[in-house]
């Protein structure tokens, strides 16, 4: 099984973070949400591995709501 990488893995981490914030500059909340949706779909296709994506969804869900997070983890 391919595991979700949770240790540092990003090349140029600070530059990426800045680019992510910059990408949303001048956008309304709705436009930002749409951009994020497109970004997720683009990255998901690049990753391609369903197990990795499921693990990422579960991990992201952990902080969404405490009780929901533990559920998502147990089914990941």
């Amino acid at each position: 099984m391919n595991a979700l990488i949770l240790e540092p893995h990003l090349a140029r981490a600070d530059d990426f973070y800045q680019a992510l914030i910059d990408a949303h500059r001048d956008l309304s909340d709705d436009e930002s949400a749409a951009l994020n949706a497109r970004l997720i779909l683009l990255l998901a296709n690049h990753i391609g591995d369903f197990e990795v994506l499921s693990a990422a969804l579960a991990e992201a869900r952990v902080d969404a709501r405490p009780e929901a997070g533990s559920d998502a983890q147990s089914t990941a």
Binding site: A34, A37, R38, I40, L41
Partner: protein, 563 residues
């Protein structure tokens, strides 16, 4: 609505009504829609005495099923009416998806040749019922009674007794098994206190059948947010007789009474076609869709099939097509149980197999409907992001879901399967429906599915072997497997003939496609069920293993220590 050239259906008094003792039939099928008719025809072809009852005496009206899938056509072939359906129907394999007036992508549902039937035909349900009724009326042992409604039924240890209401009063009649194919509102389901559960989508759709001369090609066209119907979707299908099916998504707030008004519907069609295309409305209706199923399809001697057992939204054409697969799954099993070659437990596999198929159809249909009608703001956000990306990037096109169109269900987890123990370079593992292929039979060019027919068959690769050793081996197989036909598939140029042995046929793999699609090497064999699903395959013909798989496919418990 123009009157249909309908076959003569009408109430006629039957001897059962005046019989001193309650008459008994092998099987009673309730509901003469496509599913009930297919069940009755299949049973009658297998020598079962069938009584088909319908409360009405007319064909389906208006916009109902129109897309009949390749597997359904193959079943119609086996039932003796495929050619007629395909001749009248409009064949298609290509679909196009548009987003805001721009073509997003084109898909082909049957990209390879060497199949007798196309991916789909479009044909109005009333034509399908008409041809099925004509076929049914040719069969001895199949009796159709119209304007006869089952008002009560009682399931007993040894059969089912029903009370039937007719224009001339009630009578009672019995059967060994009863098939309830009485539609989504199934009065029989209700009479038994049973339910089909699931959920209804909060959206409404206008469905219009329009008669016109139009230049559109014979393709399925689906629009997301088209210029002529903003923020909603639309679907266009061609039918025979210059009739076109158009679906307009309306949204949950739409008033179904107002939307049904012809002038209102005409305006929507005009917006789509332009002002200069003359058309007439043949049928208009406003629908909501549900995805539901019964928990179990078998209740003792009563079996539910088609819409009575399960329902889906129309995106994917999984309603009638899955119901007709129910019919074919059930018919051979009932015939085997009634004929004494299988235990009654075989009927439980109908529930297991077709229940799994219903779950698959509901899953696909629900996902399509959720894509077309997003349930939440975020769902809408991702849907629109997908469509936006799909116009530029091919990866996003595979996420666009305007309906995942019906294909034959693979019964992968069936208890009747014997799993592979050897490696195959072919996806046709146990549970798969057999892939068709052209071949040459003794009577001339033919098709694999035609040669498989409707009986248990062992498909064996024999290459160029014409030897006496092969003859002896086949004779032994025949002796060990009394219920199984043997279909020998020889290499191109090796000849085809009706072998002198009974239940043995030899055909020629004239284009090499059987070998390719089945990875059919010398002595490789496939055991095929009466519904043309694979139940097991091996690299060599070992009678003991084949016999064990055959018994398993008939629902017998695994024999201990004999294999």
């Amino acid at each position: 609505m123009e009157p249909r050239a309908a076959p003569a259906l009408g109430y006629r008094r039957s001897p059962d009504q005046d019989a001193a003792r309650v008459a008994r039939h092998d099987v009673i099928v309730v509901g003469a829609g496509p599913v009930g008719l297919c069940t009755a025809i299949d049973l009658a072809q297998r020598g079962i005495k069938v009584l088909l009852l319908d409360e009405d005496d007319s064909l389906a009206t208006g916009s109902r099923a129109i897309c009949f899938a390749k597997r359904t056509l193959e079943i119609f072939d086996r039932l003796g009416c495929g050619e007629r359906m395909v001749d009248k129907g409009v064949s298609w394999s290509t679909g196009k998806v548009f987003f805001q007036g721009e073509l997003l992508y084109t898909f082909n549902l049957l990209p390879e040749g060497g199949h007798r039937r196309p991916a789909f035909i479009n044909l109005q349900q009333y034509h399908v019922e008409h041809y099925l009724i004509e076929r049914a009326s040719e069969l001895a042992g199949l009796e159709m009674r119209w304007k006869e409604r089952v008002t009560d039924l009682e399931s007993r240890e040894d059969g089912v007794e029903v009370r039937v209401s007719t224009p001339e009063g009630d009578y009672r009649v019995r059967c060994d098994y009863l098939v309830a194919a009485d539609g989504s509102r199934s009065p029989l389901r209700r009479a038994l206190g049973l339910e089909a559960r699931g959920h209804t989508f909060r959206d409404r759709f206008l469905i219009a059948d329009v008669r016109m001369k139009a230049p559109f090609p014979t393709e399925r066209w689906f629009w997301f947010d088209p210029p002529f119907h903003r923020n909603q979707s639309a679907l266009l299908h061609r039918q025979p007789d210059d009739v076109w099916r158009i679906d307009f998504q309306l949204g949950w707030e739409a008033d179904p009474i107002v939307e049904r008004e012809p002038e209102r519907a005409r305006a929507r069609v005009r917006a789509m076609l332009g002002d200069d295309v003359p058309f007439e409305l043949e049928w208009v209706s406003v629908y909501t869709f549900s995805c539901v199923r019964m928990e179990r399809f078998r209740h003792g001697r009563i079996l539910f099939a088609g819409d009575a057992a399960h329902g889906v939204s129309p995106f994917g054409a999984r309603g009638a097509n899955s119901g007709i697969q129910d019919a074919e799954n059930l018919a051979w099993k009932l015939a085997a149980v009634l004929g004494g070659t299988a235990p009654e437990a075989l009927l439980d596999s109908y529930d297991a197999e077709r229940g799994a198929a219903a779950d698959e159809n509901i899953r696909h249909s629900t996902r399509s409907t959720d894509f077309i009608t997003p349930k939440s703001r975020v769902s809408r956000l991702f849907r629109d992001a997908t469509l936006r990306l799909a116009s530029r990037h091919s990866f996003a096109r595979q996420l666009v879901n305007s309906g995942r169109l019906s294909t034959a269900t693979t019964l992968a987890d069936s208890p009747l399967n014997t799993p592979d123990v050897e490696a195959f370079a072919s996806p046709l593992a146990a549970g798969s429906v057999c892939a068709d292929a052209p071949l040459t039979a003794a009577h001339g060019p033919s098709w694999l599915l035609e040669c498989l027919g409707g009986a248990f068959t062992l498909l064996v690769g024999v290459g160029r072997d014409q030897s006496a050793t092969l003859g002896a081996r086949v004779a032994r197989l025949r002796a060990e497997l009394p219920g199984v036909r043997v279909l020998l598939v020889g290499a191109a140029g090796s000849g085809s003939y009706d072998a002198s042995q009974e239940r043995v046929t030899r055909v020629e793999d004239s284009e090499g496609l059987v070998e390719k699609r089945y990875d059919l090497q010398y002595d490789t064999c496939y055991l095929v069920r009466p519904d043309q699903h694979v139940c097991a395959r091996w690299r060599s013909t070992q009678p003991a293993a084949i016999r064990a798989a055959y018994r398993r496919a008939l629902g017998y418990p695994a024999a201990e220590g004999t294999v």
